[in-house]
Amino acid sequence: MGKRGELSSGAVDAPPRLSVSPLAGRSGVRMAGEVGLSTLPAWRQALEQVVREDEDVYLELSSVTFVDVAGAGALADAAGRLTEGRRLVLHRPPAALRRVLEMLWPDLTEIEVCA
């Protein structure tokens, strides 16, 4: 879209999407898409719902392509609301999400990552 040295104009901006669907047979959800300013409310709402379950929570994230710092923060908030001993298990999150959590929430023990 952009040209050298000048602002691009008339670009078609497809809105980023985030889809949320229940996981069969276990507590948690599968998310797909990307997490940024416009999809943060949907991401946060989905996380708030799943951490209410009374067991470990699984998030299948293999089709999530990007999570910004606020999205990682929503995950940290959700993990903080888990009752004692329960975990939030991330299945195949984007590598950058794991890195952001390690850098900015190094003390978070309730989140477990499986590749």
């Binding site: 602002l7 670009a11 940024g36 910004d68 710092v69 923060g73 950058a96 003390d107 978070l108």
Partner: protein, 320 residues
């Protein structure tokens, strides 16, 4: 500090909780004479001690300390502190904050060396000035060595303005600096950034954040970033652009270009950055939000900002 002198060796209790002398040295002997007793006094007092200095100096100090070096956290400042904006949260407070509350910590931090580029230097001077605010009221002693033989005169003059006390070359005592003016240094190096000819420029509004990030990241890949560095670049672009949309008047301009072996991104907007410590405070676990600029500082090789009443520009460099 009100005291005229503040010996760094710990033989006299410091007048204020935070002690921050600059140590001017001209050669290896003066370097060791100024640093080794400082480390030993800390270890003898049971204080946690860290040394973050350029690799060659680190090796020199490690050899001089012998087995005592095992009790000191040693970091190569050329890596840990490559981006000066990372040093407070990622090196100094990262070492000091987890220690037992109330226990004095002792750190040698050398963020300025003769090889620092003219592009990096303003960020170095601002960092040195902001240490005072970041550690105000804390029981910490941070000694900052300056190579008085190889560094330019203006760099040494800045060190006198960013440190409340200075140990002159060949001296053993810290003396009050008459030119101490840390916020003056922060303001003086709040310089407009040179324009980037030929940069890819993308308008950023809420609806175009995702597209702009994808386009900018594709450009960074084309310019040579790969793997984790490319992931970091995408995160930085997202944080800076989102900040412009949320705090910077609703829109901004994102630019990407290559410069001296780096891929550079920049976001300009109509907002104003009033908090000089933004992105330099380590985040407390309970704290929500406020980590975007911290991430930018932690992953970039250099961050420069210019803020004025009419707008703010934040620029991040990634070694390609």
């Amino acid at each position: 500090m009100s005291a005229a002198t503040a010996p760094p060796s710990g033989t006299t209790p410091p007048a204020g909780p935070f002690v921050h002398p600059a140590l001017f040295y001209r050669d290896e002997d003066e370097y060791l004479a100024g640093t080794v007793p400082f480390v030993r006094a800390g270890l003898a007092a049971g204080e946690p001690v860290a040394v973050a200095v350029p690799g060659k100096r680190l090796a020199l100090l490690r050899d001089a300390l012998g087995t005592e070096a095992d009790r000191v956290r040693l970091l190569d400042m050329r890596e840990a502190g490559r981006n000066p904006g990372r040093i407070i949260p990622g090196v100094l407070r990262a070492f000091a904050d987890p220690q037992e509350p109330g226990r004095r910590v002792r750190i040698i931090g050398e963020p300025v060396w003769a090889g620092r580029s003219a592009t990096e230097y303003p960020a170095c001077a601002q960092h040195e000035a902001l240490i005072n605010a970041a550690f105000e009221g804390r029981a910490a002693t941070i000694l900052c060595p300056y190579d008085a033989r190889d560094l330019a005169a203006y760099v040494l003059a800045d060190a006198r303005a960013t440190h409340p006390t200075v140990i002159a070359a060949g001296d053993s005592e810290a003396r009050h600096s008459d030119s101490y003016d840390p916020f003056g240094v922060v303001a003086r190096y709040n310089e407009p950034l040179p324009p980037a000819p030929g940069a890819l420029a993308l308008p950023v509004v809420a609806a175009s954040l995702s597209t702009a990030r994808h386009t900018a990241t594709a450009e960074a890949a084309r310019l040579g970033l790969t793997g984790v560095r490319l992931d970091d670049f995408a995160l930085v672009v997202a944080e800076l652009a989102t900040n412009s949309v949320v705090h910077g008047g609703g829109s901004g301009t994102l630019r990407v270009w290559a410069e001296d072996g780096h891929v550079v991104c920049e976001v300009s907007d109509a907002g104003r950055l009033d908090d000089p410590l933004a992105g330099r405070r380590p985040a407390a676990r309970a704290q929500r939000g406020g980590r975007g600029l911290l991430l930018v500082n932690l992953v970039c090789d250099l961050v420069r900002t210019h803020t004025a009443p009419h707008g703010t520009t934040v620029r991040g460099w990634f070694a390609a």
